[in-house]
């Protein structure tokens, strides 16, 4: 296999196939042509389905912003500070429902450093979130696209107090089914293409981890691990992720600027958590083909065309 861009086919993939055939000066011999014809026939007849190439959209961004952390297991006070984050996204068309369904992998990593109002204590927060989603695409009018779908994913993280002893850390963990939607609007400013995208993820149901009101992790370590996982939905978990981005395709790269607002809140066992952040991201995105081993052709659909 060889990666190529979506500007056209490359002949380089043919070289290994022609290895056994001799080349005499300019042009090809009859024997070489017969090799090529036979090979093409084999490739196209062994696999009866039409040959298509899969276009992948990929984006990587880094960001910085402000964070607010409240965890009643650690402190009754709200901590505020700054955060750093990374977002990696991959999206591609699937074969479901005649290619109208798109799959998305979304990774998000965030670490933050926050302090109490009196600036006498410090917390570190870190979490990794992954969601896999399937979206159905609607194209109601030209230049507008809407994606609606579901995601399955989870988060693993912690809030760590540098000062507390015996209750220094609050572990955050959940697995959820999310409702997600995306709106995409493509336009031009003078001759510069612009793609505006907004995505919102809302976990609808799942499970989350929570210790009991005054339970120590020492006790959990002793084996007191009953009733630590709870059904999560809108009665005890309110989480939403808003991502607004602008993509500016240039000649050799596409610049992506984004604003991310994260809100993660839970209420369980009379413990409350509020983790929120507002961050600005910058990064690059690209679209590329993964060439299948079938006969390549130009039958492809851009993810965001």
């Amino acid at each position: 296999m060889k990666l190529r861009d979506n500007n056209g086919c490359s002949k380089n993939w043919l070289k290994p196939i022609f290895k056994g055939c001799k080349v005499h000066g300019a042009g090809y011999t009859v024997r070489e042509v017969r090799c090529a014809v036979l090979l093409c026939f084999l490739l196209c007849t062994v696999h009866r389905a039409p040959c298509t190439d899969r276009l992948i959209y990929q984006s990587t961004m880094a960001g910085i912003g402000s964070s607010s952390v409240y965890d009643s297991y650690l402190s009754p006070l709200e901590y505020k500070g700054y955060n750093f984050g990374l977002i990696y996204e991959e999206m591609s068309q699937t074969k479901i429902l005649k290619g109208n369904v798109f799959a998305q992998h979304l990774f998000q990593l965030e670490v933050s450093d926050t302090r109490n109002p009196a600036e006498t204590a410090e917390n570190y927060t870190g979490w990794l979130n992954y969601d896999y989603g399937l979206f159905y695409r609607f194209k109601p009018v030209q230049k507008f696209q809407f994606f609606a779908g579901v995601q399955a994913g989870g988060l693993l993280g912690f809030v760590y107090s540098l000062r507390n002893v015996n209750n220094p850390v609050s572990v955050k963990a959940y697995i959820n089914l999310n409702v997600s939607g995306m709106a995409v609007y493509s336009f031009q400013i003078k001759k510069q293409p612009v793609r505006l995208r907004y995505q919102v993820n809302v976990p609808a149901m799942g499970v989350l981890f929570s210790p009991h009101f005054g339970q120590s992790y020492y006790e959990i370590g002793l084996g007191d691990n009953a009733d630590l996982v709870y059904f999560a939905s809108f009665h005890n978990q309110w989480t939403v992720r808003n991502l607004l981005s602008v993509e500016l395709p240039f000649k050799t790269f596409t610049l992506r600027l984004a604003y991310l607002n994260n809100l993660y809140e839970t209420r369980q066992n009379q413990l409350q958590t509020h983790l929120s952040s507002s961050s600005f991201y910058i990064g690059l995105s690209k679209q590329f083909f993964i060439v299948s081993e079938r006969k390549p052709n130009n039958n492809f659909i851009n993810v965001f065309d």
Partner: protein
């Protein structure tokens, strides 16, 4: 007409989208807001203790009455030190060495659990017994006394106590008649060190206590008791006679260690009653930024009895001034005699 219809449609969509986005940015968790005033800090501290402290019923403390008593005059306080003194005094009503409020200029404390009793410990006597040729392994200082009794001083359960170091200490004492573990004046530290040390003196898995936690904000909202076991270490064990020396300053993790060792087969507790401190402490804080520590999870012995106010020794022995003048530690001498006679 066509243009008007399009504009209308997008305007409605935009309004709905805006509303949705606004709604989605809205927070649902209500964060308690406390003023950084004398009253605000007082109420925050009182509430933290009210919801999280675990010994109100056991100690028969009427926390609402204390609120009424200490609330008077709070609003007239203008100095930070005055506020600290009032809050500290309120916390001392709990008579708990695990309850402290800490500022940049002072640490509030209740130390009557040892201040009101004989010390039963003199460092200069320990120095005389150890001399200058003792060995050091982590937080342990150890040597063999001249009557072939091993002596190990462990002053702080916060100090490391490695498995390999323990192996060396116990192997050093393998030909001794027995060993003394002196944990007097050890105010506590890490429970993991307590468990690690105790595990060297048991032959089989033994129930040594229980722990529970609060399940809610009520003074009686507690979980079921979780058993605590000592599992014998797979490394060097010491099953010869052991004497653990205690005094009133044995607190917290030391209290837990002594409680566990009372169930070890070859161990005798000699000295004074321990200071107690069986509540596993948690931390919180008040708006001014002062951290507050408090007992959150009560621990019990294997008979489910409270050990918050200490553990009686098997053989009570006090330090004699006459012996001290002869550079003799009465408690160590009693332990040596016990081991030799065993």
């Amino acid at each position: 007409m066509f243009l008007t219809n399009h504009i209308n449609r997008y305007a409605v969509s935009g309004a709905r989208c805006t509303l949705l986005c606004t709604f989605l940015f809205f927070s649902c968790v209500e964060i308690d807001k406390y003023d950084n005033t004398a009253r605000g800090n007082f109420e925050a501290l009182w509430k933290i203790m009210d919801e999280h402290y675990c010994f109100f019923e056991y100690k028969q403390v009427d926390w609402d009455k204390i609120h009424a008593e200490y609330s008077q005059g709070i609003d007239t306080i203008t100095k930070v030190e005055s506020l600290f003194n009032v809050l500290d005094k309120m916390l001392q009503e709990l008579k708990d060495g695990h309850v402290n409020i800490t500022s940049s200029f002072n640490v509030g404390r209740y130390w009557k659990w040892f201040e009101d009793y004989p010390a039963n410990y003199k460092q200069e006597l320990i120095n005389a017994y150890l001399g200058t040729d003792y060995q050091i392994a982590g937080g342990m200082r150890y040597k063999i006394l001249d009557d072939n009794v091993g002596y190990m001083r462990y002053a702080d359960f916060s100090s490391s106590i490695g498995e390999t170091g323990l192996d060396y200490v116990l192997l050093k004492f393998r030909d001794c008649a027995g060993m003394i573990i002196d944990v007097r004046d050890n105010g506590g530290g890490m429970l993991s060190n307590s468990d690690r040390l105790a595990s060297r003196f048991f032959e089989e898995k033994t129930l040594v206590g229980y722990i529970q936690h609060k399940t809610g904000k009520g003074h009686n909202d507690f979980s079921e008791l979780t058993p605590q076991y000592i599992t014998p270490s797979l490394r060097v064990q010491y099953l010869k006679p052991v004497v653990v020396l205690t005094n009133r300053k044995c607190y917290s993790a030391t209290n837990d260690f002594v409680s566990a060792m009372t169930y070890a087969p070859h161990v005798t507790i000699v000295g004074d009653k321990t200071g107690g401190g069986s509540g596993l402490p948690f931390y919180s804080e008040i708006p001014i930024g002062w951290p507050v520590r408090f007992s959150a999870c009560p621990m019990y012995n294997a008979e489910k009895q409270q050990i918050e106010f200490g553990i009686e020794p098997d053989i009570p022995v006090g330090l004699s001034n006459e012996d001290a003048q002869k550079e003799k530690d009465t408690i160590i001498e009693a332990a040596r005699k016990l081991i030799i006679q065993h």
